[in-house]
Amino acid sequence: MFQEIFKQYNWDSVKDLIYNKSSIDVGRALQKKSLDMDDFAALVSPAAAEYLEHLASKSHRLTQKRFGNTMQMYIPMYLSNECQNICTYCGFSLDNKILRTTLTDKQIIEEVEVIKSLGYDHILLVSGEANRTVGIDYFIHAIRLIKPYFSNISMEVQPLDEDEYKLLKEEGLYAVLVYQETYHKENYKDYHPKGKKSNFDYRLNTPDCLGKAGVHKIGLGTLIGLEDWRTDAWFCALHLNYLRKTYWQTKYSVSFPRLRPAAGYPDPKHIMSDKELVQLICAYRLFDENLELSLSTRENPDFRDNVIRLGITSISAGSKTDPGGYAGTLHALEQFEISDERTPREIAEMIQSNGYEPVWKDWF
């Protein structure tokens, strides 16, 4: 289990390691073909900022070699905003007095029909954590309903157990995304004071359960803004490094959810600039040329248009982050605000005009 590896490292020493990297270390990492954790530290360090163009051009080339001139299209579909967790940064947090809803069969099909009309064939199912009403039985049922419409189904829901993942895989589940949010174990508790999610280690070991269950793809990530993004990224890369060697038949992806200053919300503790996000995307690409890198509609149009050439391999468009949002009948609260409101067709045209083929279907 990754927990055993994780225990050997200390947040502050890793942070020191990263912040003490020099431009010589960055230069060495840029020359190497096979990068280790020390090289990754150099690439996410402040010293790498002045090498951003080098990082970007190498990242572009590696991505093109491995993924070609293509961009995978996906869309999230929120099944429920019921949640028993308190997460200080999340719209679905238990202590938010919002209308809670979980889609019925009829509502699921209504959503699916709208999503299909947009052209999608890959779907990401999302929920809060409400194990009694939106647990394994609900998910199995939902996948059975949805499977005839989509080639590829991913999930971003609460962590489940290995046996449950096996059941879902048999129903046709392809990928599971489970972000640690932060690898800062002490502060994790402050962000997740109540609910099952407050158990840091359980979440940390979930990708192992996914690997053992044989789920095709595991998505990792940290919520950027909670803690120092460089240190969090290093731990996430460590996690990835462990997983890809242990579960060698599994694919991996990393996403970059970034908390931005927004009206009505307290500013995130750590603000990451656009330049820094580009640095991070490139660092992951140089670290692992086969890693799928995903970008959501949290990011604004200008940034998305420019960053797709720098290492991103999958992108969402036209997303709604509230259950029932596509059919538009429920008016539930969104989990987070969308920055890129363009339609999937508009995004596809933008991708084509950048010299890429939008891929709608890439599974059986």
Partner: protein, 254 residues
């Protein structure tokens, strides 16, 4: 240049093309036509069922044999299932069998590939397996009844050329069915090298798809493959470490 025969079908081009990674379907079609290829492989997972922009529409030409592949499957069971779906969707028995459970290097699983090949041959498929450059596994696949073997030159998409050269030579020498060198061929000179060695054909994808000018690169590969094959058929002179004088010292002993 002699014709290539695989499973009773004759091909005048010895260049096979893959269809991944192109910047647009139109560009892919143009490159396919420029290459002169008559065999094009397409991943079943990319084939859309009810979509106007179906990748297959850009590949179907009277002179082109469609070769669906099972890329994405991780074991024999999944491969057989994918093969059956491919047969149904594309109405062909031809199949490029690909089982590479390792998503990093996309190296074939020889055990699962052999298992799947045995079953698919029984089910009437014309099987062309993607396989490591392992002469014994290739012989086992031949015995299983595959139509050709497709050993790799180096990992898929790596453009590293014939790093498995020594083993490829043994495969070419030993086997009685066509050998198509698949994966890793990054330049026309590497394709020519494979053909000079006696490979029956090569399959190219990444090198063409991500070239700045894929159409021109497709033509370059066409020429490289033809040059290599013509060379092979002309009889390559033996290589030697020392100079061989064209007027030998013992010439007076007539």
């Amino acid at each position: 240049m002699s014709e290539l025969i695989i499973a009773d079908k004759t091909f005048s081009s010895r260049l096979f093309l893959g269809t991944g990674k192109f910047a647009s379907y139109q560009l892919m079609e143009d490159a396919i036509l420029a290459s002169g290829t008559e065999m094009v492989t397409v991943a079943l997972r990319r084939v859309e069922k009810n979509h106007d922009e179906n990748i297959v529409n850009y590949i179907r030409h009277p002179h082109i044999q469609l070769l669906p592949n099972t890329s994405g499957v991780r074991n024999a069971k999944e491969a057989v299932l994918a093969a059956q779906l491919a047969r149904e969707a594309l109405e062909t028995d031809w199949l490029k069998l690909e089982i590479h459970p390792d998503p990093r290097y996309l190296l074939p699983d020889p055990i699962e590939t052999l298992k799947a090949a045995e079953e698919l041959v029984k089910l009437g498929f014309i099987v062309l397996p993607y396989i490591s450059a392992d002469p014994v596994v290739c012989k086992r696949l031949e015995e299983a009844g595959v139509a050709a073997v497709m050993p790799l030159g180096s990992p898929i998409g790596s453009n590293n050329g014939l790093q498995t050269r020594a083993m490829l030579e043994i495969i070419i020498e030993q086997i009685n069915i066509p050998v198509v060198i698949d994966a890793g061929i990054g330049t026309p000179s590497q394709a020519a090298e494979a053909m000079e060695m006696g490979a029956d054909a090569v399959l190219v994808n990444t090198a063409i798809a991500i070239a700045q000018n894929p159409i021109q690169m497709a033509e370059a590969f066409k020429l490289g493959v033809e040059a290599g094959r013509l060379c092979y058929e002309s009889g390559v002179g033996e290589r030697s470490l020392t100079a061989q004088a064209s007027s030998p010292l013992t010439a007076f002993l007539r």
